[in-house]
Point group: C2
Chain length 480, copies 2
């Protein structure tokens, strides 16, 4: 890990002034002009420097004075964003050289990934020109930077408050979807970068930057291929001992690999090899955007489980059976509780229509009677329990118990976290058919405010809990 990367990339994420080449004076309510979206994004993020739109004829764009070329800008510029066609990019780069720009980000696509020889050559020429003149490049063919603290965003509607999640992505679409989906789960971001073809700055540069960046506590990534996989994995192995790292890798099947090549010209590998490498390096390897988002949420909000023994609470009958099946299919255990726990539970749980075996089924009435803290104490002290998976049928509760019922459940759960002192995995279902969308949404927001992780379904909850248990096992091995 080269120490200076933090300084080296500082002005990429915190530029003093920026220029956007290819912004347009036309009205654009459907946000089709990406150049204007960068400007709108920076306005929204309260960018503290100057914004210079570059356009051959316009006097002003979105309220900012526009300039015909980068070299005409009457101030220094740290970052120039290219949203012009590929054909026009060499001329713009020449200007950047003349201007002494530090970073350029090429949203511009159609280079190496197009397979067209003239454009492959043009890409090489651009890179050479930049390198010779000390300009670093993000892209081409990518969305670039979102950094709330630096005042940058590649979409106007991203959250403006920063947070602990750092993210780097080969795909711009995936980066955008990630931000929106993760933001909806209450996550916030230190730095997000979509780096596309990675002809200059590469995945491992951003990885090292995020590793050193003290605003970043958790690292996520979407990758398709890696040019230098071995050094990336080597770097990751050291990083994961301090910061958890979650990677969603695309292009792991034959068809996906073909799609990846036409997308960013990256070489994808086999899924078995990839997973083995991740396991060795302590990287949490996930298989969907949803898993990526909820794993990062869990890492931010939950302690790591000390092992794979789960106690499941809040289901009944057929639900208990299928939840156990699903947990064990994900490599977790749903063991018998210790005899002492069972003995104690039998004294407080009503005998009929319940089960003090694991999964625990204590009946609806039980919750109302204030026995929940006692159960949590028993589970806290039971060595057979590494984490509690707590099914929260919020919509159904609201149907039967109304607002008061929900309020009680939320208070009880939030207070319970302090008693249990082990991971509490909350499953708050949405599509259970009882409606109550707003009540469910409010409940999830309250749990997030209380630093509790929620999951929209049981299967996702057990999968992510399994990932966290594996990561803890990795950390244990490093110490041992």
């Amino acid at each position: 890990m080269s120490e200076p990367i933090l300084q080296e990339l500082h002005y990429l994420f915190h530029p003093k002034n920026i220029a956007v080449v290819g912004a347009s004076p036309k009205s654009d309510p459907m946000m089709m002009n990406q150049g204007n979206n960068y400007i709108k994004g920076s306005i929204e993020q309260n960018f503290s420097g100057k914004i210079f739109p570059v356009h051959p004829g316009a006097k002003a764009i979105l309220g900012f004075q526009a300039f015909p070329r980068v070299r005409d800008i009457p101030d220094s510029v740290d970052l120039v964003i290219f949203t012009v066609p590929a054909e026009a990019s060499v001329e713009v780069m020449k200007d950047c050289v003349e201007k002494g720009v530090k970073f350029v980000h090429l949203y511009t696509a159609g280079f190496g990934e197009s397979g067209r020889e003239a454009f492959v050559k043009m890409e090489k020429k651009l890179i050479d020109m930049a390198r010779k003149n000390g300009i670093r490049i993000v892209g081409p063919n990518c969305m670039g930077i979102y950094c709330p603290e630096g005042g940058l965003a590649f979409q106007p509607f991203f959250p403006t408050t920063p947070g602990p999640v750092g993210f780097f992505s080969q795909s711009g679409q995936m980066a955008g979807m990630f931000v929106m989906n993760a933001a909806a789960q209450g996550l916030r971001f230190s730095k997000v970068v979509s780096f596309g073809n990675a002809r200059d700055l590469k995945a491992h540069d951003f990885l090292n930057y995020l590793a050193q960046d003290e605003k970043t506590k958790i690292i996520g990534s979407y990758l398709e291929g890696l040019e230098d996989g071995r050094s990336f994995i080597e770097a990751a192995r050291k990083i994961t001992q301090k910061k958890p790292m979650v990677i969603f890798k695309g292009g792991l099947t034959e068809g996906g690999s073909r799609a990846a090549m036409s997308h960013t010209a990256a070489i994808a590998g086999s899924s078995r090899i990839w997973r083995a490498l991740c396991r060795q390096a302590g990287i949490i390897s996930v298989t969907s955007l949803e898993e990526l988002v909820f794993t990062l949420s869990a890492l931010q909000r939950m302690p790591l489980p000390g092992g794979k023994n789960m106690v499941i609470l809040g289901g009944a009958g057929g639900g208990s059976v299928t939840m156990t099946d699903q947990a064990e299919a994900e490599g977790l255990k749903v063991p018998q509780l210790s005899p002492e726990t069972i003995r104690q539970l039998e004294t407080i749980v009503p005998p009929q229509g319940t089960s003090v075996k694991n999964p625990l089924d204590v009946g609806r009435r039980f919750f109302a009677e204030g026995n929940f803290p006692k159960i949590l104490e028993l589970l806290r002290d039971d060595p057979n329990v590494d984490a509690l998976i707590f099914m929260q049928p919020i919509a159904m509760f609201s149907r039967f118990g109304g607002r008061a019922g929900i309020s009680m459940l939320l208070k009880m759960t939030i207070a319970g976290q302090k008693i249990l002192k082990k991971p509490m995995v909350l499953v708050v279902e949405k599509n259970d058919g009882f409606g109550g969308d707003r009540i469910v949404k409010e409940a999830i927001e309250r749990y997030h405010a209380a630093h509790l992780a929620t999951f929209p379904d049981f299967r996702l909850a057990v999968r992510v809990t399994g990932y966290l248990a594996e990561y803890q096992a990795f950390l244990d091995r490093q110490e041992g």
Copy 2:
């Protein structure tokens, strides 16, 4: 398949009069008294016969005259529902014998599944008494019947309009969750039965009934164990040639099997054997409640795909890669389109930032320009395409294109179904972070009204499409 089962069970689903033993005169806003829930359910379902609550002291319950015992009821009774404790059930059964009742349903639990010897014996005694006197039993330990056309429901809040889905379930909780989740997707039901311990009427009785019932067009089931698996599978193999059948089986892991035994005392089997049996019998074997609901939805709304070649439309970049990965991981193919299709597409799709390879990425602007029907014609005529998976980022569309944009997308899609003449699998995502919950919900409802199947995420869509393709392959084998 014994022909008379349709007649034999007729009055179970369409009783003239019913009695509920264990109903209570106490106010019960939280719906804790299940006896009262049956009465409320029948009121809600507009039951055309008489309802007789049975209670030792009450004069009236929920507006109906109550009677101290079943034998005191001054009219004939086809179905008696037991919601009394196990200890009281033998006396009630004696009354039912005296009264000449046709069916009893024991919600009452705590018999064989409790493992307590006295109650195992009591259960046997009840069954013997019923059999000798020509009374058929549902249960014990189950929710019983939901049949909108018969005026029965085990919860007061079930839909009152009937539909083509028949369902039988070992678990009452699963039956209730199934009804609510499936109803939320616009499915409606002919008959739903939760049969619990199945000491008299068994899974294959209900299977045969639903097979013969002309109101039932699609059969779903949740099972844990099967006492006579071979004859069940034999019966199923004949049925699936006429009606599709979807089973979610619980208790397929070690822990799940243990939970199943304490639940309904059923013997669960290994998952590999189960899946092999299902494949032979043309049963679609699913692995979650969600898959169960969306597979039934697809069977009702989509033609079966003729093969496994999918074309994916509406993603871009990283999304194309990961969707291809996920589709291929589910055993589907995302092949190259035929050269003729590609040639034609190249003449109408704008060249930059798009892909005419599969997955198709035609750009946002393209949809607005009315070229969609042309694409569908090309896909219809392409022998490399068995089905279209169409990503519909409704919330994002509404963000960029407003109400008008959505309206256009919906109309285009609904009209497109008639052009394509192959399965159109719509993925309408909810949690993409763009909000618009109400717009998404309305879009889904409009698609359902137009008999289009929707899926909340891509992975579920490809899994279910794979199930349907496998079922078509089974049907083809039967013909060949």
